[in-house]
Amino acid sequence: MIRAFLATLAGVLVLLAVYPTFGTGYGVRATQQVFMWIVLAGSWNLISGLTGYVSFGHVAFYGIGAYAGAILVTRAGWAWEPAALAGGLAACLLAVLIGYPCLRLKGPYFAIAMLGLNEVLRALVSYFEGLTGGGSGLSLPTLDASVPIYYAMGLTAMLVTLLTYRIVTSRFGLRLMTIREDEVAAEAMGIDTARHKLGAFILSAAGPGIAGALTARDQGYIEPVSVFPLAMTITMIVMALFGGKGTVWGPVLGAAVLFVAQEMLWARFPYLHQLLFGTIIVAVVLLMPRGVLGILQMKYRLPRTI
């Protein structure tokens, strides 16, 4: 069973690796976007799926990464590869800054604090116009790097998934889950929940930071509204939920399925697609909060590595 799975996985990876050689421009772009959503949903899963602390402003890390990367490329002449890593680092720093005070808060309050983070970052970006280009946005020097970025994003997606796998199969991961199950009991059993939460939070920020910087480079232009939209947080959450939060492959499944769904809705119902997507969100939350893989896991006693 496992061998069949690994064989299929290897096959898919090979296919994805050679795809740019025969795929259409749109196809490569779209697949790259799926990679990006895998990074986002998978990273959100690391903090919220495992510890139960719902990060409702996770796109803040994506936005910070985008700006850090873009600023380094335009103002400091960096190449986009190290700029992308710097974007991830910037996001991690933000995670430390905001996580330290906010992770002490109980569930709903943490969610609200994270919700506000977005708005605040957007305001800050607009304020520091000299550096960030403010409301008019920031243009990067022209560069067609869509194929290398495809690979970079794909690599990041793989790393995030691999990281999730390693965490979920380790005692560190189990300890994170105890925070979700019963934080008080976890503390009473000798687990330093504050440090664990912060650790998970920092790990969950790196991916979005890198993804933000990569997307900024790829699109060549960013502005506050495009990199800090609440809708993006919601989408990554719903993708993780749909696939199965707390699982390894859930975010991957959710990203792929819902991205395709979103594209199809946009194509068919240009005026209603938001409304319909809102309906999907509601349906997922009400009808299948555990997600596809979550339900299967419970029902068929599948191992955690699903």
């Binding site: 019963d182 008080v184 503390e187 059993m189 000798g190």
Partner: protein
């Protein structure tokens, strides 16, 4: 023999209610103690203050010569105090085995073996891969008990270990507690089941409305007038 745990003038208020009112006691190694008292006498709050789940208002708690009343709960746990809860707090979406190994660090193999050993002790080895949330009440209680033992704590606080547990399981549990005492641990249990207390504990403390009103061997406590009054009315 130096006291393992020394509590000096512990006080805890909740708004207008004084739950623990200047309680002092000392526990020595290799003994089993009981903490009894009518409902609302402050027993669980007392436990919570010792383990750091509640911050005490006044008083000192000294464990193995070190003051622990300012520490965080996880730090206190790591120093060697383990506890169970009045309302069972296993981790429902972790398996029984995972519930035990999650509290350990270091050698995973050794942790796994120790976990299986302890689960075997409470006759749950067969259910080790079952989600703890799916186990019966009594089984969850045993998992929680085994979990406490994983770190070999020097002081074990048991909050109503006999509640809701059938006779056979109960005997296993009591046997396990005696064995812990023989291996050098100190056990303090809160219990309502008087037969358990009288049969198991060497010294019993009695709380009433936050005050410690009696302390002594079970026989003496049973005959103590203040205790009888506290339980059966004024």
């Amino acid at each position: 023999m130096a006291a393992v745990l020394e509590v000096d003038g512990l006080r805890k208020r909740f708004g207008g209610v004084t739950a623990v009112n200047g309680v002092s006691l000392a526990l020595e190694a290799r003994r089993i103690y009981g903490l009894i008292g009518p409902n609302g006498s402050g027993k669980t709050t007392f436990f919570n203050c010792i383990t750091g789940l509640e911050r005490r208002d006044a008083g000192r708690v000294i464990f193995k010569g070190e003051r622990i009343d300012q520490l965080k709960p996880y730090q206190i746990a790591l120093r060697g105090i383990g506890r169970t809860f009045q309302v069972i707090r296993v981790f429902p979406e972790l398996t029984a085995l995972e519930n035990l190994i999650v509290v350990t660090r270091g050698d995973a193999g050794a942790a796994g073996r120790r976990a299986r050993e302890l689960l075997g002790l409470v006759r749950l080895d067969g259910l080790r891969n079952e989600y703890a949330g799916n186990l019966s009440y009594g089984q969850q209680k045993l998992v929680e008990f085994a979990r406490v033992l994983m770190r070999d704590p020097a002081l074990i606080l048991l909050d109503e270990p006999a509640a809701g547990v059938n006779r056979t399981l109960l005997n296993d549990l009591l046997e396990a507690v005696r064995r812990l005492r023989d291996q050098g641990a100190t056990v303090l249990l809160v219990e309502h089941d008087m037969k358990v207390v009288m049969g198991l504990c060497e010294t019993v403390f009695v709380l009433d409305h936050g005050d410690k009103i009696a302390e002594g061997p079970p026989g003496a406590i049973q005959a103590d007038e203040r205790v009888i009054e506290a339980y059966f009315g004024r």
